[in-house]
């Protein structure tokens, strides 16, 4: 299939055509280089790629120098991380102003040192010289020594086999940085042109975003690993003109474009063509809507809406450092506030609910071979049949659950949730991928609707649910909400907001979709320093879910 440029695509399509081709570029790897007129930018190696053998040696020397000086200055444990991050964003907005592609390159070094049970950290953006890096190493140890003054604590790091010479690259079909900018722009233009040519004067906004990052990690335990990860995501929103009667506009987003641990193929192969008419139809239908009847109802949430709820409730509540109160001053606490007592015993959800975490799923945005402490993450069950069974841990925090692990005959081991937000930032707990285990019955979203006499269906998310500081109470709005009456979707509903209190919500789960109904969403719940607006994506795979007793209110109504 030959590459259709925007110009060719527009020429080929017609208003009356039953099917309109969306641009499907061939896998024009720039190394083949034959389909594109000029030397494509994508063929030039990026900062991330341009590591020759000499440079690897250079980097290795810098990293070892940091480890060395930090250790010689008296640290009991040291680790070093280096990040090289490349980003490219291509956007389209209708009208004469066209935001140009955006590029950024970030490089940062971070050194963590442990002295007498206290952590010190030194980090720098940019490329340090050997002298600089030696000073950084000494600084990290000095920071730790100062932190340890007047302190009588012990930090144990859960045991870990050090990987001495590991390399890994996230498997993607097409490295997005080998695809020319022209091809990417044509792709985005093609989407927009397609919707524009539907007869109804649709407005579209679309952008696509690519990240490639090389992470080098070394520790005084003897670890040295290099891995390359990708994150690719897109956004498409279609707005319709106002309805003649209601005078309201409608809109709909393409939820399936959210970030994934994948390459160009994630955008290229996205089912835009298949779903286009659905997207437009739902946007149009939204314009004729009625207000919500306030009350408690059976609700059916689609997989995308559930992903956001899962992430903000159980996903946040099971971060162990949060649960122990250690981030109370910044991001908040958890309603699972006594992990040692609760793990294995506390019911947090209906027996239908099992939630696992991993950093290994294909196309998972948080998928890695090793986390930021060199731990190979383990797939872990956080909630089993409604009982909380584990938390997101790092080498340090795993020990806080040691009595529980030992009681269960499990090794005390980090389950691999260490990460870094921003290139020159300390290691902290980082969101892994979450999976809501599908139900054993092959139920779909439609099946759950059919089974509901009266309630509401919530599809997609207007934004992520807004929760309180303990991840306990939340409120959210679907992108599209329909009434359900006698097993059928009825009128669209405008301005409805669902309120939930996490334990009651999850215990109110009455039915969940089967394996075929699972959908992944790329979400970001970051602890980033605002300065870099560093995005850290993870994938949440959820299934459509029916929940009983959920409050629906009018979002705009005051008390």
């Amino acid at each position: 299939m030959s590459f259709l440029s925007r110009r060719q695509f527009v020429r080929n399509s017609s208003l009356a055509a039953a099917t309109v081709l969306l641009p499907k570029a061939s896998h024009a790897r720039a190394s083949a280089g034959t389909l594109l007129p000029t030397a494509p930018y994508g063929s030039a190696t990026t900062a991330v790629d341009a590591i020759s053998a000499t440079d690897e040696a250079d980097l290795h020397a810098l990293v070892m120098e940091a480890l060395d000086t930090a250790t010689r200055a008296g640290a009991h444990y040291v680790d070093v991380h280096v990040r090289v991050t490349q980003r490219e964003s291509i956007g389209y907005f209708q009208g004469p102003k066209y935001p140009p592609p955006a590029y950024s390159t970030q490089i940062g070094f971070g050194i963590r040192a442990l002295v007498n049970g206290s952590w010190g950290f030194s980090g720098v953006d940019g490329v340090p010289t050997k002298t600089d890096v030696a000073q950084l190493g000494r600084d990290a140890t000095a920071q730790a020594a100062i932190a340890a003054r007047g302190s009588s604590q012990v930090i144990e790091l859960a045991a870990l086999p050090a990987v001495a010479n590991g390399t890994w690259t996230m498997p993607v079909e097409i490295d997005p940085f080998t695809v020319s900018t022209e091809e990417k722009i044509d792709f985005v233009d093609g989407i927009s042109e397609f919707f524009l040519r539907e007869s109804l004067n649709l407005d579209t906004q679309a952008w696509i975003d690519f990240m490639k990052e090389t992470r080098t990690f070394a520790s005084s335990d003897g670890a040295y690993t290099t891995q390359t990860v990708y994150a690719t995501g897109g956004f498409l929103r279609v707005d319709t003109p106002p309805d003649w009667a209601s005078e309201r506009r409608g809109y709909r987003q393409a939820n399936f474009l959210s970030y994934a641990g994948a390459g160009w193929e994630h955008v290229l192969n996205a089912p835009l063509q298949d779903r286009a008419h659905n997207i437009i139809e739902e946007a149009l239908r939204m314009r004729r809507s009625k207000p919500v009847e306030v009350g408690r109802y059976d609700m059916v949430f689609d997989a995308y809406a559930m992903a956001g709820i899962l992430d903000e409730s159980l996903g946040a509540a099971t971060e162990l450092d949060r649960a122990m109160g250690y981030i109370a001053n910044t991001f908040g606490t958890s309603y699972l506030n006594d992990p040692l007592a609760m793990v294995g015993t506390l019911r947090v959800a209906s027996p239908l609910v099992t939630v696992t975490m991993n950093r290994s799923m294909p196309r998972g945005a948080a998928t890695v071979k090793w986390d930021a402490e060199g731990v190979a993450p383990v797939e872990t069950t956080l909630v089993k049949d409604g009982i909380v069974t584990d938390f997101q841990t790092t080498r340090e925090s795993a020990n806080w659950l040691a009595p529980a692990y030992q009681h269960r005959g499990q090794p005390v081991r980090s389950n691999g949730c260490a990460g870094v937000y921003g290139t020159a930032s300390p290691v902290t707990t980082y969101s892994p991928n979450f999976v809501m285990t599908p139900g054993t019955q092959a139920l779909s979203f439609d099946d759950l609707i059919k089974d509901t006499k009266k309630g509401y269906a919530v599809i997609g998310a207007k934004d992520r649910p807004r929760t309180d500081q303990q991840a306990l109470n939340g409120a959210g709005q679907g992108e599209v909400v329909y009434e359900i009456t006698n097993g059928k979707l009825g009128s669209a509903v405008l301005g409805a907001e669902y309120l939930y209190r996490s334990p009651e919500f999850w215990k109110g789960v009455k039915a969940i979709g089967g394996a075929e109904s699972a959908c992944p969403s790329g979400l970001d719940r970051s602890r980033s320093d605002w300065h870099w607006q560093y995005k850290s994506w993870h994938t949440v795979s959820a299934v459509p879910t029916k929940v009983t007793g959920v409050a629906m209110i009018d979002a705009m109504k005051k008390a």
Binding site: A47, Y98, P100, G126, K130, A328, T330, P426, N473
Partner: protein, 480 residues
Amino acid sequence: MSLSFTHRTRPYTLARSSPVASSETLVSADACTAVFQKLQSFVKRGTAVKLILQHRMIGAADWASNRMRVSSQRSEVSVQVELTRNGAMGAALTSRLDDDGLLQAVRDAEHVIQYTSEQWENIADPFIDTPILTPQLWSNATANFDATARTDVMHHLVEPATRAGLLSTGLLQTSIEATATLSSEGLSRYYRSTGAECSITVRDVQGTASGWAGVNHYALEKIDPQALATQALDRCQRSVKPVAAEPGRYTVILSPQAVADLFEETINYTGRFSAEHGYGPFAGKELGRSKITEQVMDRRLMLRSDPMDVDGGFLPYDIYTGDSYRPTDWIDRGVLRELSYERDYALSALGLDQPLSYPSAEPRAFRLAPAPGVPTSTLDEMIGHTDRGIFVTRLHNVVVMDPDSMLCTGYTRDGLWLIEDGKISKSIKNFRFTESPLFVLNNVEEIGVPQRVYSNRGWAYVAPAIRVRDFSFTSLADAV
């Protein structure tokens, strides 16, 4: 000099070119000029260059449950390179200051230019060098405050909580920052500043009570960490075992922090262009008009941004255009007087020779205050005047639901008390609120003396405590 697109850049270079900012030294004005000249040497003839360079060195003591979690130092760099040629503009961002990194940024920006020639017509804005105000934003004591000093202070802050059997979690952070904007048209700005922030949360072991206090400023000597620790501890102790109160409308006393938490989103809508095009709370009745000259708040209030503000000074120019900020009264005695102009709108549509300051550009800063001559009340007086009401310490996760009315929702946290018969009577469970800052500021009963509050982004917010009628709490949110 032409650029070859097949040039390989090496991300790691050992001492081939020493970067201008090491982990130990804040980038100097000369160093910024050197970077700029290097960029100019990399570009094709006829290309205008703009450099926006920000370097921040941050030291922090981060503690939890009465113990240090990590003592850290970070050097953060942001280099934005913008090239313009024949009306086309391309930009790229990097964190590198070494030669190869700058060259990569130039290559990226050059690459972008070829995609913008057709669509992005930049009117060549001549740079008008107006003198900038020179607020004092540097404190030597803050710049020299090192890890040892931070750790010592941290121990003192934690001690009262430890003695009381409670858990203190918090952050004490000091920073130094340099920001430079240089362009081929002669724009040359360099400014140094320091920053200090302290925020503390004290909680009980059972997790039934939480109190908070915090503030940021340019100078450590302008904040009192010990007073914050005492206040957080006090709020925690007085929050133990909260009872549930009924949601509904209440007379509410918002602390200065809560006022800022609720109001800060409004600043995002102070652009005149969007207001005149029907968007946001300051949009006028018809297209092409804003609410300028209309009353938008209680007549006793004013809203002002002044880089020389004694409590809330900020960078006196736009880091992108270099345009200097003049002190501006946005709202005077409740009447909207001014909105901010994007540069090209000011110059082309309004025929001005200079755009006004743009408070929704970063860093953001505002002073919400009683107008001159308006009598103020103390917190005790406000409480004393309240038959039945609620005192709010702070708001969390404030989100705008509707820009036109500024209706927001969010949660209360870290200290909520019922007031009965002029006294704080009991600690109550947190609420979710649905309320608009503009509605609130039109229902004012009493106003306090404005003070600097906490912005977790280091911005300069100054706000008073306010007692208001009919504040809407829509549901219970029993988080602690």
